[in-house]
């Protein structure tokens, strides 16, 4: 009985810790503290947003463009994410200059895998939903909604994102560009 309660508590605490990590990460982005956000990305991060196709109900495997093979909306590593952060800091990246107002709502957080266990977790796979609201200049609004699946790894200085899959709920992208992070 005692052991079971401890295990449940471990899971609860881990869930709370991961949720807090994701919310802190979102807050860094919304406060435009991009360099600090980059530090949450593992050096081997893969940050990928596939294209989404309209396919028959019976063929869900065809719904997204194939990783490392097909075209994608975004397919990044740490090098290119760092380039994006540098670009924002130039003050000449017109798509985000003047600054957009962005809010990330991250919700439906669920741990789908914990390795090796919740007592001493080294890696977790976490699913969530995002709603990213971008407002620019006077009246330009973009709303990006979708699902994320992240793989987080515990390193010496805390959790790091080593993989982020971003499944946006749009077929034709309804925003003119993708210059925010998800």
């Amino acid at each position: 009985m005692q052991a079971e309660t401890t295990a449940q508590l471990d899971e609860l605490l881990l869930h709370r810790e991961i949720e807090d990590f994701l919310h802190t990460e979102a807050d860094l982005l919304d406060q435009r503290r991009f360099k600090e956000w980059l530090e949450l990305c593992a050096d081997d991060i893969r940050y990928w947003m596939p294209l989404v196709w309209n396919v028959p109900f019976a063929k869900p495997e065809q719904e997204f463009s194939v990783e490392r093979q097909d075209c994608a909306w975004i397919d990044e590593d740490k090098v290119t994410l760092t380039q994006r952060v540098k670009q924002l800091a130039t003050g000449l990246h017109w798509a985000e200059e003047p600054r957009s107002r962005v809010s990330h709502l991250v919700t439906n957080v669920r741990l789908v895998e914990v390795r090796p266990d919740a007592r001493a977790p080294k890696e977790v796979v976490v699913r969530s939903r995002f709603l990213v609201y971008r407002n620019r200049l006077q009246d330009e609004v973009d709303i990006y909604v979708g699902k994320r699946q992240d793989t987080l790894r515990r390193e010496a200085d805390g959790w790091k994102i080593c993989r982020r899959e971003i499944y946006i709920d749009q077929n034709v992208l309804l925003a003119k560009n993708l210059t925010t992070f998800f």
Binding site: L51, W53, D70, L92, W94, N177
Partner: protein, 448 residues
């Protein structure tokens, strides 16, 4: 006020180097463009590598119309209007797939592309209640899906025109063909040999569609747009600049009689010296060195060109080297467009090279591209700020380099405007005016 009553000369004055802002915001002008330009010109609709097998299909667009790109049993490509002949419903709402027939989900009319049951691709073959309700009195052969009369597969790219009198595609291209070949041919110089990297990016931009082809036809003047990427360095060799040194003098070359234009190299008859490229990846660098050597051998003393960026009138642009892509700008209202980007690689490029190219092209272009994302901002707010009543009174200025273009030796009907000029934009809007005037093909193609 309809466009007929406006003076097209007043809207587009090549002589004074001005173009009215009405072209970029006005609904009447836009509606006439759909008819006079998108209803007649050769339009890029896709690539054969998107539909490799018999009965594969891919949903595309021509102007605002949804079309189905499909292959028959023999591999021939057809373009069918995606609208049921009974009540207009889209008979296909999947982006891609494989189907011998398309059945309308509204009343069940079905259309076939299988020559075993249909004499014509898209023929009406199934009508629920044909006997009981129609009393067999419906001419099925007359009510097939509307089929685009002119379709061409050019080195894998599929082009179509709604005008059955349209000139042959190669006549429409003229010597611009060489610059398109420079993008579509294998890096080793052999014909064709490129394919699309799985799928196409499609996204909406609140700008008039003409901003994009005008940009790629020869705007060497908009460097400030991309200053941030030049500073950051996103190139594929230790991050310098936006691209590798392509080792050629990049000029604005246009085709005044055809409306096409390019930022590229003049015709030359031997290969330029080898410049290392993609040095971040030893495998990709070696591949490009190796195809360079094959290219020297394959092309010998043949005429060749190089394409940086280019536009084929009206709404197709392409990049030939870094990145290597095809783009279509679909009109979506006077102040909105849907942009498409396909990325090209050599069909037989090794997987690792393909991956390096894919990754580089995606970080350059598209809505998430570090370079292209800034273009979208400029095009959309240029459109926005041109809507005002006062703004509309004042035309855009296209006077740069007027009268300085010179004929190009070795290219029929081409002019060279030098390194930086608005000659090609003037060529584009002059062609736009000719189409909008409703000129016949013989006049448009200079055959009278």
């Amino acid at each position: 006020m309809s466009v007929e009553t406006r003076s097209l000369d007043h809207l587009v004055s090549i002589e004074s180097g001005t173009v009215s802002r009405e072209l970029f915001v006005n609904r009447d002008i836009y509606d006439q463009e759909l008819e006079s330009i998108f209803g007649r010109a050769w339009l890029l609709v896709g690539h054969e590598s998107l539909i490799p097998n018999p009965f594969d299909f891919f949903l595309s667009r021509m102007g605002e119309d949804s079309v189905i790109l499909t292959r028959d049993r023999k591999g021939e490509v057809h373009v069918l209007l995606n609208s049921c002949m009974h009540r207009g419903m889209k008979v296909c709402r999947y982006d891609k797939g494989n189907a011998r027939s398309f059945t309308c989900p509204y009343h069940g009319w079905s259309y076939s592309v299988d020559d075993r049951v249909a004499e014509q691709p898209g023929q009406l073959v199934g009508v629920p209640g044909f006997e009981e309700h129609y009393h067999c009195q419906l001419d099925k052969k007359a009510w097939g899906l509307v089929r685009c009369p002119k379709v061409v597969n050019y080195k894998g790219t599929i082009w179509a025109s709604w005008d059955e009198n349209a000139p042959p595609f190669l006549d429409y291209l003229g010597d611009m063909k060489l610059y398109l070949d420079a993008a579509l041919d294998h890096r080793d110089g052999s014909e064709g040999g490129s394919e699309v990297i799985g799928g196409v990016q499609r996204w909406r931009i609140p700008c008039n569609w003409k901003f994009a082809p005008e940009n790629f036809i020869g705007d060497h003047y908009h460097n400030i747009s991309h200053r941030s990427v030049d500073l950051v360095g996103i190139g594929p060799s230790a991050g310098r600049g936006r691209r590798d040194n392509e080792g050629f003098e990049s000029l604005i070359i246009g085709f005044p009689e055809l409306g096409h234009g390019v930022i590229g190299a003049l015709p030359h008859y031997e290969e330029r010296p080898y410049h290392p490229a993609y040095t971040n990846s030893p495998v990709a660098q070696e591949y490009h060195r190796e195809v360079y050597e094959r290219r020297v051998r394959n092309l010998g003393k043949e005429r060749r060109v190089l394409t940086g960026a280019a536009t084929i009138f009206p709404n197709m642009s392409f990049h030939g080297i870094q990145p290597r892509t095809l783009a279509i700008f679909h009109p979506q209202g006077p102040t909105e467009m849907e942009m498409w980007r396909f990325y090209l690689v050599d069909k037989d490029a090794p997987p690792e090279v393909r991956d390096v190219l894919r990754h580089y092209f995606l970080r350059y272009s598209g809505p998430g591209g570090l370079t292209e994302s800034d273009d979208m901002e400029n095009w959309s707010y240029a459109t926005e700020a041109s809507k005002g009543r006062m703004a509309r009174r004042h035309p855009y200025n296209y006077q740069m380099g007027m009268g300085y273009a010179k004929p190009v030796e070795g290219l029929k009907g081409a002019v060279n405007g030098g390194d930086t000029t608005e000659e090609n934009a003037r060529i584009f809007y002059n062609r736009w005016r000719q189409f909008m005037e409703g000129r016949g093909w013989s006049e448009l193609m200079g055959r009278n």
